[in-house]
């Protein structure tokens, strides 16, 4: 996938690009509105990650340009200002998603994947990983073609892991993904452990290989190795 990262903070820009590149994506970088305008004139992107507060102007301008040209590049707004108005305006101008800083790179990766999938495989909402098969439309999971039943949280977790294959995902990121604003309620991360344990058991019981690896106490990895 071809992704454009528009972010004026160099460290963040590089980290996003590094993380996404490791997933096998191609990343272009832009530090300002000018650079970004130049880039979108030259290339089409599967997804544009757009910071709204850029040194030379409002990121929403870029969205207006894209809209005028009737482009269908997927757009995820990443901003420090989580105001409701801005969110509404951004989504109104055609943004597909809205991520408030700070965020976990695994979360960003999952959002990017969701958008790209929605845009490029219209009608084909299947995610495959060896014997695992997920239909995003109907939210069903099959192992070796046999459906298994998962709770909503287990399903969300599995999808999240699939979007970050072979990556270590911190418990912090998992908790934030599942409980959002109430992440601090799930003290000591025990909840995540329970949910993953249950998910693992269901998958293994259905004959799926155990792809989950625990990484010391800090996180989990979903990998074929």
């Amino acid at each position: 996938m071809k992704i454009l990262v528009v972010e004026d903070e160099q460290l963040l820009r590089d980290n996003i690009a590094d993380y996404l590149k490791a997933e096998g994506n191609v990343c272009d970088l832009a530090a300002s509105l000018d650079e970004a305008t130049e880039k979108i004139a030259l290339y089409d992107y599967d997804c544009i990650l757009l910071d709204l507060t850029l040194p030379d102007g409002d990121g929403l301008k870029l969205m207006r340009i894209l809209k005028k040209q009737d482009r269908d590049d997927g757009i995820i707004i990443i901003t420090a200002r989580g105001s409701v108005d801005q969110r509404i305006e951004g989504l109104g101008l055609g943004a597909d998603d809205y991520l408030i800083k700070p965020f976990h790179l695994s979360e960003l990766s999952a959002r990017v994947l969701a958008i790209v999938r929605r845009r490029s495989f219209k009608g084909n909402d299947l995610v495959r990983f060896n014997e695992l098969n997920i239909d995003i439309q109907s939210k069903t999971v099959k192992v070796h073609g046999e459906p298994i039943s998962l709770t909503r949280k287990e399903y969300d977790l599995l999808l999240y892991f699939m979007a970050n294959k072979s990556k270590v995902i911190s418990k912090s990121a998992l908790v934030a993904h599942i409980w959002g604003d109430h992440a601090d309620m799930a003290d000591s991360f025990d909840f995540i452990y329970t949910h993953i344990k249950n998910l693992r058991k269901k998958l293994v019981d259905a004959g799926c290989k155990d792809y989950f690896q625990s990484v010391y106490g800090v996180g989990y990895k979903f990998s074929a190795e």
């Binding site: 420090a80 700070p102 912090s172 601090d184 309620m185 106490g217 800090v218």
Partner: protein, 416 residues
Amino acid sequence: MRLFTLYNRVLLITSMAGLLIIGYLFYNTLSTYLNKQIDNYLVEELLEVRDYTSKRQDFPPHSEFEDLVIAYHKISRISKKRHFGDTIFFNPKKGVKETGRYLEEDLVMAGQNYSIRIIASKIAHMDQAKSIFLVIILPVLGLLVILWAVNRYMMKRIWVPFNQLLLNLKSFNVNKEQGFEQVSTSIVEFRELNDAIVDISQRVKSDYREIRMFTENASHEMMTPIAVINSKLDMMLQSTELSEEHSRNLVDLYRATAKLTKLNQSLLLLVKIDNNLLLDREQVNLKQMLEEKIQYFQEFTQRKSIVVNANLQEKEVLMSRYLADILLDNLIGNSIRHNYKGGHIQVELSPERLSVTNTSEAGALDETVAFERFYKSPASEGMGLGLTIVKQIVELHGFSISYSYHDDVHVFTVIF
């Protein structure tokens, strides 16, 4: 003591004391003057008696003196002294005892020493003195009463702008859009006071606005560095050489950044509430919302084996849905977070109030500071902004919140 009361008290005491002193002096002077008049009259009469006696060698008969009582008696030795004085005597004409003024003098008649005592009635003069006294003092008294009444009226009238100023000052809220309401008056002092308050209130408002803007900008600016830290941590996590010790450090760093993020978000939320930025009010069905919340938090309550009792009546309030959600999140969330295993939570909703009661290992909170920014009980792991946010939301919508602790349970009550 009210300015009024104090002023009136001082005025009353001084005028009364003044009146008494002046009255006393005036009456005394008047009596002295009248006595002198009687004395002169007595002296004249005495001279007449002396005339008579020296001519006729006899005392004049009583009938010669109209209003006087005259008495002679023999004495052995003569004294040259004339003697005036007050006395009480029997008035034979009226047949009663009266106060009178007497003059005593000795004289020699036909070789015999006599003492003469002439007594004049003072009644008529006393009446005169009383009349004069009253004629002077009563109008003065009347004048004082009128002065007092005028004073009272004027004080009330004059202080009207001041009272208005006070009222407007009390209703001034640095948080509200509306500034200090000016009071127009023709009294220079009050006008100056008004101008001074207007000046100060404007300064306070602009300072407050600046602080809010500073908080907002600072919090926003911090989000990007936190995002960098977060993403760096995510990248470090991918390292193949991650040791167990590094992992532990990473866990701590993740926690710290999560906390920092939450703190920033809370501060931003407070600023938004302060700025009235979240005023998309609508009818919110609290009963339904509470049921959803309790359902949502079920996972947490079940894990801690907390028994949740809900007694909910229908209640709709006009408020921001977003803030209502945060309000319930904080109230219910707190009751779970600070609860112990096997504790219980009681949620009650009626048309008048919403109360959340929970058991906790922590003792009573300090009511006076429980809702203050960054106050937290020693056992709390939070940042101490949750209850502040609750209070701000509640006050923004014109409700009120109270906290009480009894029988080992904490009760938070929102009164609509």
